[in-house]
């Protein structure tokens, strides 16, 4: 997908002025947050489970090669195939080869952020294969030809009327005067359309929430059941997963599942948790003839052993987005690539480079709410700061900001000089204010005064007054 992160500021301005978007974002800020808080409060061991979940992933990442190879052995033993893919191009080619061999014309898809990451839909369309998104939110944004704005609620930036419009524009064979004013009628229509697609599909592609090394199983969690139909009905099931999804055992997956849905939607468990191990066996009544796992690296192995390794613990619950005041103000599209919010601010620079994504780790007030709710205890602000350090080292910080910061730090490291200058500054502001308590405009402080008045210093600095009064030093 085309990256628009370099114009983050303009994207954000546009989002702030979009009243429909602002209305839609209201749910993220209230609904998701309340539900997570209640779900966490209902489970006394929730905090202990977070520690366990973190420990499982840390252990796995420290032994990633071992668990991935074991996973492959088990998939092979169950009759499936693991395809190791270094980047998006390799993954796309692998999927295309499978589709071509099976002469696939229609591919159904469960929700997969990795598919977004490698822009799979556009690629399949170019090759004459019709990809059909079967998650309702994904289906809606596919009709609208736009990327998801949230990692678990892809269409959360839309209000109901926009969905009705998209359906009317796409489903032209249905009566024009049908009722699309309520969620149930929208849902019924989507279900009718998608049922035919499920039956027509030659290949089903899903993502994976977990890959289990001890059994070679893949796991998806959904609320609509679309994933099950996607992977069970077609001749081949392709699981598209990035390599950090692996966990050692079923028990480990169960532990992390206990924090996943609670953190994501506030559910105790998602409606469907589906385990897939290999293709259909002789005694099975249904299931795919072929089972493929496309295992994608795409920059992740390069994060191992760096200050960004902890990011690979992420289980894509979306809690950091839901609790982020910046995400809540501008929504997901402003971030300009697949992964928005705090997790995106750390992951996107790792995957596509800091050159185009420099704004993302800077557009945070470091309020720390993301880290406070992250079920995997990922220190997101700390890692955003690490990106800022890399940017500063590489002179990517804007020149004016860099100069100002350098000058300020030089003075602040010389407290006596700093004291003199602080008092000169205070006096200048007081003179400029002519008795007012705050200023509406101040030279060189446009960023501040654009949105709020600048309070004027009360008088001489505290330290000057303290010295004058003979206070103890």
């Amino acid at each position: 997908m085309e990256i628009t992160s370099p114009t983050f500021k303009a994207n954000a301005r546009e989002a702030l002025d979009d009243t429909t978007l602002q209305k839609a974002l209201g749910f993220v800020k209230v609904g998701f947050v309340d539900r997570r808080a209640k779900a966490a409060a209902r489970l006394p061991e929730f905090e202990a489970l977070r520690d366990q979940a973190k420990a499982i992933k840390d252990h796995t990442l420290a032994n990633l090669d071992l668990y991935l190879e074991r996973f492959e052995e088990k998939v092979t033993a169950a009759g499936g195939t693991v395809h190791w893919c270094r980047d998006g191009a390799e993954a796309r080619t692998t999927i295309l080869d499978i589709c071509r061999r099976l002469e696939a014309r229609t591919v159904t898809k469960g929700k997969s952020m990795i598919a977004e990451e490698i822009a799979l839909n556009d690629f399949l369309e170019e090759q004459g294969i019709e990809p059909v998104e079967t998650d309702l939110g994904e289906y809606i944004i596919q009709l609208r030809h736009e990327p998801p704005s949230h990692i678990i609620a892809p269409a959360v930036h839309l209000v109901k009327e926009q969905v009705s419009d998209a359906f009317r524009a796409a489903h032209t064979h249905l009566p024009a005067d049908r009722n699309l004013d309520e969620a149930p009628t929208l849902l019924a229509e989507a279900r009718t359309i998608l049922r035919r697609k499920f039956l027509a599909a030659d290949v089903g592609i899903t993502g994976a929430n977990f890959l289990i090394a001890e059994t070679g199983s893949t796991v998806i969690v959904t609320n609509e059941g679309n994933g099950d139909l996607t992977q069970t009905l077609p001749r081949a099931h392709i699981v598209l997963a990035s390599l950090e999804k692996v966990v050692p055992t079923l028990e480990d997956a169960s532990t992390i599942l206990r924090v996943l849905a609670r953190s994501a939607t506030g559910q105790e468990f998602s409606v469907y948790t589906t385990f897939s191990t290999g293709p259909r066996r002789a005694e099975d009544l249904d299931g795919p003839e072929e089972f493929h796992v496309v295992l994608l690296d795409n920059g992740r192995s390069a994060m191992l052993g760096t200050e960004f390794q902890d990011m690979l613990r992420c289980i894509r619950c979306g809690a950091c987005l839901n609790h982020c005041p910046v995400y809540g103000a501008v929504g997901g599209h402003a971030y300009g690539w697949v992964y928005p919010g705090p997790m995106g601010a750390v992951l996107t620079p790792s995957l596509v480079g800091i050159d185009k994504t420099g704004h993302l780790p800077n557009a945070s007030s470091f309020c720390g709410r993301c880290e406070a709710v992250c079920p995997m205890r990922i220190p997101l602000p700390k890692m955003m700061r690490h990106w800022r350090e890399r940017e500063f080292e590489r002179h990517m910080t804007p020149a004016a900001a860099r100069t100002a910061l350098g000058f300020w730090a030089w003075v602040a490291a010389r407290p006596r000089l700093y004291g003199v200058m602080a008092n000169l500054g205070a006096r200048a502001l007081r003179i400029w204010a002519r008795g007012r308590g705050a200023l509406v405009r101040v030279p060189l402080a446009g960023g501040w005064t654009a949105e709020r008045d600048l309070p004027v210093p009360e008088g001489q600095s505290f330290q000057a007054q303290w010295t004058r009064r003979g206070g103890a030093r």
Binding site: P325, V326, S365, R385, A412, G437, A438, A450, R452, P455
Partner: protein, 263 residues
């Protein structure tokens, strides 16, 4: 370093880290902090050679510059029993981030660890270390309290300020909605991304004003200047003060961003 007071009790020596914002914009908060610390049985010094904790550089990714500024704090506060700051943000920087900042600096790593261990935010120092009895304080009015992010999430300051405010006679505390949400200050964030910060502070003052309280209190001047500046920009009557001013009974001077006679 402990000094004996008139009653014979050992008094801890507190070095007040006044913070750059209080030093420059609101010295009265510094004097309120001194009054509270002395009332809590401490000997207060204001070590010379302090400017800023270095957080603006640290959060801008300028580690070397941050260390240069932070070393002035390590030097100035080496001798006192405690470093106390009227800010959760600066106290959090010293307590939580200095060890990380100096972790790969063999010369100063131990000094940073030692300073971190004796650093406290003002209100939590009064409640958690000094178990302060605030009887006699008075403030007539309804207030709401804004939890600044660093204090709340890095230092866990939440019950302490409310307990002390509960002991102030004449004061009614009314809680705002979304009280754990950032006001949009975020240090340099507010000038780097003014549009987003502006939306955040607009939402914040809306929630604060909805309480009907006459005054918003907080423990961090950065947030307070942001909130006070926005309240004034929107022409709202609500005033903003540092919690230390109320606890110390020093509320005769105009509120933040207001001059004598201005409403």
């Amino acid at each position: 370093m402990m000094e004996s007071g008139e009653t014979g009790k050992v008094k801890p020596v507190v070095g007040l880290f006044v913070t750059c914002l209080v030093d420059l914009f609101r010295p009265s908060v510094g004097f309120a902090a001194v009054k509270l610390l002395e009332a809590a049985g401490c000997t207060v010094r204001v070590p010379a050679g302090q400017s800023c904790c270095g957080q603006p550089a640290y959060n801008s990714g300028a580690r070397a510059q941050a260390r240069a500024v932070a070393r002035t704090v390590l030097d100035a506060f080496a001798e006192v029993d405690y470093l106390v700051a009227p800010s959760g943000s600066c106290a959090g920087m010293i307590r939580y981030h200095y060890p990380a900042l100096f972790a790969d600096d063999p010369a100063d790593a131990a000094r940073a660890e030692a300073l971190a261990a004796k650093t406290w935010e003002l209100v939590s120092f009064l409640t958690d270390i000094r178990d302060m009895d605030l009887s006699g304080a008075r403030f007539d009015g309804t207030v709401t309290y804004h939890d600044a992010c660093s204090g709340l999430r890095e230092l866990g300051i939440e019950a302490g300020p409310r307990a002390l405010l509960g002991a102030v006679e004449g004061l009614t505390l009314t809680e705002a909605a979304d009280r754990e949400i950032c006001c949009g200050f975020g240090g340099t964030f507010c000038v780097k991304y003014p549009d987003i910060s502006g939306r955040m502070v607009a939402d914040k003052v809306e929630a604060l004003a909805a309480t009907g309280a006459g005054t918003v209190l907080a423990g961090d001047l950065g947030c307070l200047m942001n909130i006070a500046g926005r309240l004034r920009r929107e022409g709202r009557a609500m005033e903003a003060r540092h919690i230390a001013e109320v606890l110390a009974g020093m509320t005769d001077s105009p509120a933040i961003g207001r001059a004598e006679g201005e409403v």
